[in-house]
């Protein structure tokens, strides 16, 4: 195959994807970056007014925004960590012939399938201190019953638990399919050679799975950083600022006070933060 043929081939594969992303995702983003240098009250003004770096200056002085960044980092780290461990354990558990495997996997996926608002509502009900079933069962077992989303000390933990419940299936699904792609023969051979379950896992399965693990962790943590529905429905960012994550600030700027310039600057800051977080990983990817 000569060079121009190869180039044409590459085009066919690449172009639809890049063009689509460019038009539908990058161009609007450029508009957002432009807005971040303006002051634009969507309700009161017709056109954005250029103000240079004013929005960024205000944002850096906004203690509650910086605090929310910290909080969101913490939430992401803990939630995704737990989701990974649980998801991995579940994937390994399910990676064997089981009767009605399809149905069981399907059931495991239900939390991910439910609409986020429904998930928020059901956990709101579960977390009710006296009316909800969680505290009722804890009481039956004699365990002290926490106030869950109603006190600062357990509010963030409550949201983490709900997030883990909702998104572990995602990790589980991708990791399970990753396991399915690993040729069985390798594991069979090792088994025949007398290797124990854990050894097989550590030396064969895990190394081959590392790529998928990294990918799914990066993906999930990017989404966890943007968590919104759960927080909005359960606590609105409260009590006080105990669960005020970055997306709550963004929502308030964009849809409560309609200060588009401020919202845009938050988006840009978020973008920079997240891309810095993953720049190391991105450099490592073999492309």
């Amino acid at each position: 195959m000569d060079v121009t043929q190869k180039k044409l081939n590459a085009f066919v594969f690449l172009v639809p994807c890049i063009v689509y992303v460019l038009i539908l995702r990058i161009v609007p983003l450029i508009y957002t970056v432009y807005l971040s240098f303006t002051s634009f009250n969507y309700l009161r003004q017709q056109k954005p007014v250029f103000v240079g770096f004013e929005q960024y200056r205000l944002l850096m002085q906004n203690l509650s925004f910086l605090q929310s960044l910290k909080l969101t980092f913490m939430f992401t780290g803990i939630a995704v960590g737990i989701e990974l461990l649980l998801g991995l354990a579940l994937a390994v558990l399910f990676d064997r012939p089981i009767r009605l495997k399809g149905v069981l996997v399907g059931i495991m996926l239900i939390p991910m399938i439910l609409a986020p608002a429904v998930v928020g509502t059901i956990w709101h009900i579960l977390y009710k201190p006296s009316i909800g079933p969680l505290n009722y069962f804890l009481g039956l077992l004699g365990i002290p019953q926490p106030q869950w989303i109603n006190v600062v000390s357990t509010a963030l933990l409550s949201i983490i638990i709900a997030d883990v419940w909702e998104w572990t299936p995602f990790m589980f699904l991708i990791l399970l399919s990753g396991l399915q792609v690993i040729p069985l023969q390798l594991r069979e051979a090792a088994k025949i050679d007398g290797a124990g379950v854990f050894k097989i896992f550590r030396h064969i399965t895990l190394p081959l799975l590392v790529g998928v693990i990294l990918v799914v962790v990066v993906l999930r943590s990017m989404d966890a950083f943007k968590v919104f529905d759960l927080v909005y429905i359960l606590t609105r960012g409260g009590p006080g600022t105990a669960t005020e994550v970055v997306s709550i600030h963004l929502y308030k700027a964009a849809f409560l006070s309609f200060r588009m310039g401020r919202a845009a600057s938050m988006v840009v800051v978020l973008l920079v933060v997240i891309s810095l977080m993953y720049s190391a990983y991105l450099k490592e990817i073999e492309l």
């Binding site: 009161r44 201190p129 006080g240 849809f255 409560l256 006070s257």
Partner: protein
């Protein structure tokens, strides 16, 4: 012969007269026939009867009526974008006090006065029959922007059985030195709330409690959830959130601080989940028998506390005016979308709906429906079905300055204030500090909105 001709004459006249009326009906039908009126707004319990009724009324006029139900803050996003892009999709907008300021600000609502003047039928609409305060609240700068069918006013609900119990009365007298009564002042309200807050295992009316019992209950979730409850106390302290004359926020006046201090002092007597409850949940909690008093909107009492299908204590609640102060008045209704292509038809439909006869029928059908029409509120039939009607009318006849300003910045302002009140409730800052900070941020907000320099 004479008899016959008389009969024929009468018949002819009947036919003629009937024909004229039928023709008029036909005329109306053909004028607006084939139009689809589209409404957008939240499925609140005063809007559902309207949708059902308007569907039938529209059919009579040869039109179709279609509703897209969306919660008010989501509907707001939609309306803003549709308006800015010149979309003519909607005709009627369900207008809540909370977003009315923003709707008017962006020009989403068209003033109704020209429509009333040009094609209005005064007898059907019955403008005089509306409560004056209601029409005043539905107007901005002299123009009427919506027709109200729901005026929520805050009432004090209390458990009669508790207040009449001899055991409790004796204990109260011993502890506080005066007779146990539904409180007339906030000082006494505090005492009663404190008195009735009991833990599991303590007794209430001589019986051991299987669950905690609370003096009162409020919904204190951030945003309008808390604000709706807190406004009643602002009214009690004669405080406002801003001064319309100077457009300056007034969040750190002694009155405002006083209201915040008192409101946050009630926390020990509230259920611990108050900080994440909506008023629906708060009412259901009280209705399930876990609270002694509740200050709530009147339609909530009818809809939840006193409804035997929904409440464990339906027959035990009584209503009175809240402790002395201004009346809390939160008005909701329907307005006409400024870019609607069928403004006249939409107006005519609304007019038919607001006919006092139609309104009275609805009030007799739905427990939570009580429009601000005098003839309805005064009718003995209505009063028999709606125990809250009398107190409501009394409340709404008092002078009221609405603490729900028609400003586009209103929801953001609420967000700031309730955020700081929550901080006070968590013991993080003092009420004075909270009010100062809220004032500072709100002044900045007002500056950004261009209300003040």
């Amino acid at each position: 012969m004479k008899k016959m001709s008389k009969v024929v004459l009468v018949c002819l006249i009947a036919v003629l007269v009937g024909g004229v009326f039928a023709g008029q009906g036909l005329c109306e039908k053909t004028k607006y026939a084939g139009i689809t009126i589209r409404m957008l707004g939240p499925r609140h319990n005063w809007a559902i009867p309207m949708a059902e009724t308007c569907e039938k009324l529209a059919e009579e006029m040869g039109m179709k009526f279609d509703v897209t139900w969306i919660e008010w803050d989501d509907a707001l996003k939609k309306v803003i974008l549709d308006l800015k892009s010149g979309s003519t999709t909607w005709d009627i907008l369900v207008t809540l006090r909370m977003s009315m300021g923003q709707y008017i600000e962006i020009g989403a609502l068209t003033p109704l006065d020209p429509l009333i003047q040009d094609i209005g039928d005064p007898e059907t609409l019955g403008l005089d029959d509306f409560l004056e305060s209601a029409l005043e609240q539905a107007s901005y700068e002299g123009k009427l922007y919506m027709l109200p069918n729901c005026t929520g006013t805050a009432l004090l609900g209390y458990r009669k059985d508790l207040f009449e119990s001899p055991i409790e009365r004796k204990a109260f007298r011993e502890r506080y030195g005066y007779e146990l009564q539904p409180p007339e002042t906030y000082r006494r309200f505090y005492d009663v709330a404190e008195f009735f807050t009991r833990k599991t295992g303590q007794t209430l009316m001589g019986e051991v409690l299987g669950a905690d019992f609370y003096g009162t209950t409020h919904s204190n979730k951030l945003g309008f959830f808390m604000w709706h409850d807190f406004v009643t106390y602002l009214d009690g302290w004669n405080a406002t959130s801003y001064d319309p004359a100077t457009m300056m926020p007034t969040l750190n006046t002694p009155d405002f601080i006083g209201a915040v201090k008192f409101y946050t002092s009630l926390v020990p007597f509230l259920p611990p989940e108050h900080i994440n409850m909506s008023s629906g949940e708060s009412s259901a909690l009280a209705a399930a028998g876990h609270a002694a008093m509740a200050i709530e909107f009147d339609d909530m009492f009818a809809y939840i506390h006193m409804d035997p299908d929904k409440s464990q204590t339906a027959d035990k609640w009584a209503l009175k005016q809240p402790p002395f102060g201004r009346a809390h008045n939160c008005l909701n209704g329907f307005g006409i979308y400024a870019l609607s292509e069928h403004k006249e038809a939409a107006y005519k439909l609304l007019e038919k709906f607001f006919d006092s006869t139609v309104q009275k029928e609805l009030a007799l059908q739905y427990k939570q429906y009580l429009p601000p029409k005098k003839s309805v509120l005064l009718s003995p039939e209505i009063r028999a079905f709606h125990p809250e009607a009398e107190v409501k009318l009394k409340n709404l006849s008092r002078p009221c300055i609405s603490n729900h300003p028609l400003l586009a910045a209103y929801p953001s302002m609420i967000d700031i204030i309730t955020g700081y009140i929550q901080q006070v409730m968590l013991g993080k800052i003092s009420p004075e500090e909270a009010c100062d900070k809220a004032q500072e941020e709100t002044v900045q907000l007002f500056r950004e909105y261009g209300y003040i320099k």
